[in-house]
Symmetry: C2
Subunit: 294 residues, 2 copies
Amino acid sequence: MAELLQGKPVSDEIARNIESRVAALHELGVCPTLALVRVGDRPDDVAYERAVIKQAEALGVRTHQVTLAAGAAEDQVVRFIKAINADVDIHGCLLFRPLPPHLDEERVCNALAATKDVDGITSASLARVFIGSGLGFPPSTADACLKVLDYYGVPLEGARVVVVGRSLVVGRPLAMMLLARHATVTLCHSRTSDVAAVTREADVAVFASGRPKHFGAEYVRPGQVIVDVGINFDAAGVMCGDVDDAAVEPIVRAITPVPGGVGTVTTAMTLLHTVEAAEVAAREQMDIAIERLM
Amino acid sequence: MAELLQGKPVSDEIARNIESRVAALHELGVCPTLALVRVGDRPDDVAYERAVIKQAEALGVRTHQVTLAAGAAEDQVVRFIKAINADVDIHGCLLFRPLPPHLDEERVCNALAATKDVDGITSASLARVFIGSGLGFPPSTADACLKVLDYYGVPLEGARVVVVGRSLVVGRPLAMMLLARHATVTLCHSRTSDVAAVTREADVAVFASGRPKHFGAEYVRPGQVIVDVGINFDAAGVMCGDVDDAAVEPIVRAITPVPGGVGTVTTAMTLLHTVEAAEVAAREQMDIAIERLM
């Protein structure tokens, strides 16, 4: 039976890291603060927001809620995001997506300053992931996948890693991050002719295509590490991943469970990015203060 | 023996396309113009510059040479590029690289306006390739590879394409462009443990790692299409690609020769991008003029 790569010990380790860095920031009089921007009242946004606030509070990260009506005009949403950019007491911003369909998501996302883009939604952040330089943060889910693999000591350099799914939230940025770690990376997607043949070649296979329990025994082989990024609900309303775990677990070496895997680590990554953004801002403030003294 | 996928008929086709579009622009009183920025006098830069000027002139594209001393200060180079940005009569800019080592290449490149970045050297252009939206143009060499494959009718959708080399000039952007064409893409590089095993799996293998005649018979199999992006010189000073063509040609279905392959198409792509940039600028000028009339 596969080893289950639980997310809890990973997010616990990140939480300890956050706590000690938050303590240092508090001593400087800085309270790392994350703005949560929600347009409308979609139940899953509200539930996710509640979970982020709870975890942030437990770690000493302040949250600042901005809630707009589902019918809010695009210029209004952009104005609120620009106010967050201008507010020196806010270090990061999490925008709940998808936005209502009348809003141009790309325009709204790109209104956010890259330095506060702790979930990698701006073109600048994505460019940084692709190019390897610039401002911003990687998407938290992609970063969470990497953190889980690192925590469990899965070697990436020279490994063959196959990523199924090419979204800008996980697949494409994760492929670039794995490449930067010197993995040999293959991107599969809905037009790939024989996905199973490709994923069976992998040392590490990442499933991030949002198809509930779609990937069964034929997609894997013994010895593999499987990362299941899917967060879906089956016909009975029970949360499940992209992988048919009952079929896959008897075969592979290790797999991240759903729930309890990558998803558990994503919020911790957003908070870690917020702390990093607060540290950068605090350093800049100190540099300005020192310059004034001299 | 492999079919040789010659670049000449591809660049001829692009040239015809450019000529008819240049004629239309001339009728509007617009002369598409490409600035050539060279810092220092490296012989290969000078030779490439001469080739670009010759091809541009033949197609009715004007060139504008900016030549700076090898020791030019970074701020001076940046000032010249900003002057190009501000000049409405210049539509594209080609910067010869690598720059002398005292210059911060990333800063100099990013001084260029994305709308005039006809060789994909700015972060904005690369972000567009990665994200699929925004301003700028793909790197001309990567675009040339795609044009050659299209000209010879090589199917990409669902095909397994392996790219060897992860530079920002070819490998990484080309991988993203192939992905956008629905290929299943694998990126190999110097840390890949068994490159030959990976490239043998490909329907189309692209070699872009800059190692003269490095890839021999063991890297290929019958039926494959090989794209050789390398422009190297062997011990005898003769131009050669990354592929050992004497070993590979008897095995594969088709291969781009060096010289006479992808390299032949690159300059044509830069000129095509320049014409596209001039068309966009002309449309904007017309929109402004129409607005003033109303």
